[in-house]
């Protein structure tokens, strides 16, 4: 089952959990199931039905620009971190 590392500033939504196993074979499924387990998390990670553009997703340590429909291995570790754009600057980050 994929492991989602919870950003420090939204751990108030996950009872302080730093990382949680979440069912899902796509990014969308993982985020929706995370939302079911910990309501409010999806709103912090997504802008509508996409990853928030100011957030970068690391899968197994590699920064990737994923779409919601992209598949996730069952042993994947996901991190949601401030996006680093060309030159390293985007909007003001949410966490």
């Amino acid at each position: 089952m994929p492991i989602v590392a919870i950003p420090a500033l939204i751990r108030n939504l996950t009872d302080g959990e730093e990382s949680v196993p979440v069912e899902g074979s796509t990014i969308r499924e993982v985020i929706n199931n995370l939302e079911n387990q910990y309501p409010g998390t999806k709103d912090k990670l997504c802008d509508g039905d996409r990853i928030h553009p100011s957030i970068g997703v690391y899968i197994n340590g590699v920064l990737t620009r994923v779409a919601m429909h992209d598949s996730v291995d069952s042993d994947a570790e996901l991190h949601f971190l401030p996006a680093i754009s060309g030159g390293g600057q985007g909007a003001s980050y949410q966490f």
Binding site: A5, P7, A8, L9, I10, R11, N12, L13, E18, G40, K44, D47, H52, P53, S54, Y58, I59, N60, G61, V62, L63, T64, R65, E77, H79, L81, P82, A83, I84, S85, G86, G87, G88, Q89, G90, A91, S92, Y93, Q94, F95
Partner: protein
């Protein structure tokens, strides 16, 4: 040190493809651009750092002979207060537009208020003086700690702090708070036997690119907008123009001309929308150029910052805990690189317990812009100075302390992800073995310092097309603007695949109508990602040409192989043909071959660097002289070693300037008092020794040739390395940048 592979083109040093045009002055830059009927635009800028705009009357300017049009924020479409995705990250649309022309408030001295198009630039400049603007002057706030005070002047009445996933109600200058937490910070400091905690201040610094911003815009009668300009990314200009002007991307063509430096500062747009608005209003092409004062006062520098660093270690040298608070000046609108700084601040080290807090704070200065490893230099100045002090306290060699705690493959970064194969330890070992580090260093007022640094590097989108010519050369079409020799480094990757010399590749950087989407030349991504696209496009060519050879030899495609520039059959017929000879037969075997690739590679691979510097401090004047400088850096694989060395040397020089001299000096009213290259002192070749660039090659598994981006990390270590060298020379820890003569004299108690 590295896993060596044999290459024919990669690792060689051919002459860059654009070299002749540049050294002979034939290359066309934005200011050179001419078109029939051209008008000239100038921008009126706010004389106040913080002021409400009561009224703007342009009537006198419009009546001035030779003036063809005047524009203000009123000419921009009404911008929504919403986030827009520009492909390079999200921006608030209202903030983006307000930075083009102030609508209700001027938020920094130099903020654009209006612009004039006229028959020549002098008339445009005169007419700017005829625009009557009534201001209600407000007190400015110019420093991050003051801006964070509860009673500080507020820049944006609707800005509240986004923190802990929530947004507060009270207006503030603190746009956001971010945090990374790993392990148990209290436990980590409890375990420590030595704890060092220091505060650091860094100044506002400009990228200092030699070529000022420029743009020429023209609307055709059918509404097609074309913009010729200097930029790090034609497609991001197109996206920004589309959002700011609320105009379809399909009706905008951006033509990137040659670029005279950017370093991150030519990603955001400033006068490009202004030129477009003036062109629309006048019906003529309009060229807008900045002068140097415009560049300093009206474009984004890298932010000043206030940083606290606390690190604890056991007596054996094991670092047990690290904590930091990073407060970065975003400038007039939110969006400093504090996020990147927070991710880099302890990245070189494997530390079990970490707490990182970052604050993005608006102040009455130009909206900050990226500058070479944005945020990382500020952060490393703090961390690497404290690590040096820790080494002294523990009586451990500073390189050994870094080797003991340095991050390796499999270690978890402070912000969470696990490192893939990285080369930090190898840069430390290279520095340790270098004759510079092993040489004597004992003269009075001479000192030696070391420091390390990290930058992520990024991938993002790149597109490449390759057209095979009948003479065995190729035309390589790309969308990455060439700042530091990337035509060559991209061409060489295609040449290696095809088994042809680098000189047989004609690389061309084209406009947004002529190639697939390509992200900016920034984030140290171009040789990595566009080079990867060139590799894949060349593989596409090979695949197609194998089919042509198969047709020629009447064999199955699977029976054709390609190696070292030769196609051969593997079905016993012993047919063989070179890439060049087969290129001549394309018309007989089906017509042209065009290879293509688009990439969005995920494995950029982080870059590390370790620097060693010797300085001499003149204790009478406070001047610091750089005596010797050695920079070791993991390049993954150096495609063109000369340009890797050039990037390292250039980054070091900019880091030295940041360390010793460069800063925006403001008066109390918020006016920059040194907005020229005479007073904003950048280092020249007369100030510097030859920088010894040592390339370490730990191949990046995320690239077919092992490439890592090299352009940004060399600017990260210099300020800390020099501060540590100054301490070694005179026994004083400098904690504020720049470490200019007056600051040194004050620190020595001489003034």
């Amino acid at each position: 040190m590295s896993e060596k592979k044999e290459y024919k083109v990669i690792g060689t040093r051919p002459i860059r493809h654009d070299g002749v045009d540049k050294v002979t002055g034939r290359a066309i830059y934005g200011a050179d651009f001419q078109i029939t009927g051209l008008l000239h635009g100038r921008v009126l800028r706010s004389p106040h750092a913080h002021a409400r705009i009561v009224s703007i009357d342009t009537s006198r300017a419009e009546a001035h002979p030779g003036v063809k049009g005047v524009v203000t924020a009123q000419d921009l479409p009404t911008a929504e207060d919403k986030m827009a995705d520009l492909g390079e990250g999200a921006v608030n649309l209202k903030y983006l537009c307000d930075n083009i022309f102030a609508s209700d408030k001027a938020l920094y001295k130099g903020h654009a208020i209006a612009a004039v198009a006229a028959t020549n630039p002098h008339i445009a400049e005169e007419a700017c003086e005829l625009i009557d603007v009534e201001y209600e002057v407000l007190p400015p706030v110019l420093e991050v700690r003051q801006a964070m005070e509860p009673d500080a002047p507020i820049l944006h009445e609707n800005l509240t702090t986004s923190s802990l996933g929530d947004t507060e109600d009270k207006p503030t200058n603190i746009a956001s708070h971010l945090q990374h937490k790993k392990g148990d910070i209290d436990k980590g400091f409890d375990e420590a036997e030595v704890v060092i905690e220091r505060d650091f201040v860094t100044g506002t610094v400009h990228q200092g690119y030699i070529e000022p911003h420029n743009a020429t815009a023209h609307y055709n009668q059918d509404g097609q907008l074309t913009v010729w300009c200097s930029t790090q990314g034609a497609f991001t200009v197109r996206e920004q123009l589309a959002e700011i002007l609320q105009y379809p991307v399909s009706k905008i063509k951006v033509v990137p001309l040659e670029i005279g430096g950017g370093f991150g500062g030519k990603i955001n747009v400033y006068i490009k929308p202004v030129a477009a608005l003036l062109a629309k209003k006048t019906g003529k092409p309009v060229k807008v150029l900045m002068n140097r004062a415009d560049v300093f006062e009206g474009t984004g520098p890298t932010p000043a910052s206030y940083i606290t660093i606390k690190i604890g270690a056991k007596k054996d040298g094991k670092i047990t805990a690290a904590q930091t608070s990073l407060a970065f000046e975003a400038g007039a609108y939110p969006g400093s690189p504090v996020g990147a700084g927070a991710m880099c601040v302890f990245a070189p080290y494997n530390i079990e317990n970490v707490l990182i807090d970052g604050y993005d704070v608006v102040v009455n200065k130009p909206k900050s812009a990226p500058y070479r490893a944005p945020g990382a230099t500020n952060a490393a100045f703090g961390t690497e100075t404290v690590v040096d002090e820790l080494a002294e306290e523990l009586n451990i060699d500073p390189l050994e302390l870094r080797l003991m705690n340095g991050a390796k493959e499999g270690d978890r970064r402070p912000d969470g992800p696990v490192y893939p194969r990285i080369g930090f330890i190898e840069t430390l070992e290279a520095a340790k073995e270098h004759p510079h580090y092993t040489s004597a260093n004992g003269k009075k007022y001479h000192g030696r310092g070391i420091a390390s640094g990290f930058w992520f590097n990024i991938g993002l989108e790149s597109s490449v097309t390759i057209n095979v010519n009948p003479d065995g050369t190729i035309n390589l079409v790309e969308g990455s603007t060439d700042i530091g020799g990337t035509r060559a480094s991209i061409a060489m990757q295609a040449a290696e695949v095809l088994g042809i010399p680098a000189e047989s590749v004609n690389p061309t950087v084209v406009d947004t109508n002529s190639i697939g989407y390509t992200a900016v030349t920034g984030g140290s991504r171009t040789t990595y990602a566009t080079g990867y696209a060139a590799y894949e496009a060349a593989q596409d060519v090979v695949k197609q040409m194998k089919a042509r050879a198969a047709k020629l030899w009447e064999v199955d495609e699977d029976n054709v192989q390609f190696a070292d520039g030769e196609f051969s059959s593997i079905n016993g017929k012993e047919e063989q043909i070179s890439f060049r000879d087969l290129s001549a037969k394309l018309s007989q075997t089906g017509g042209p071959v065009v290879g293509r690739a688009t990439m969005n590679p995920a494995g950029a691979g982080g870059a590390f660097a370790t620097h060693v510097v010797d300085v001499e401090v003149d204790v009478d004047t406070g001047k610091v002289e750089i005596l010797r400088y050695t920079a070791t850096q993991d390049a993954g694989k150096a495609i063109h070693p000369s340009y890797v060395e050039g990037q390292i040397q250039g980054g070091v020089v900019q880091g030295i300037g940041w360390a010793l001299n460069e800063e925006y000096i403001y008066n109390d009213e918020g006016t920059m008092t040194n907005a020229s290259f005479l007073d904003y002192r950048m280092p020249t070749c007369l100030d510097l020794p030859m920088i010894d660039a040592v390339i370490v090659e730990v191949p990046n598994p995320g690239h077919p040739y092992g490439v890592r981006g090299v352009g940004e990390v060399p600017i990260v270590p210099p300020p800390a390395a020099i501060a540590n060298a100054i301490y070694d020379a005179i026994g004083i820890r400098m904690t504020e940048l720049p470490m200019s003569p007056d600051r040194l004299l004050k620190a020595m108690g001489k003034i």
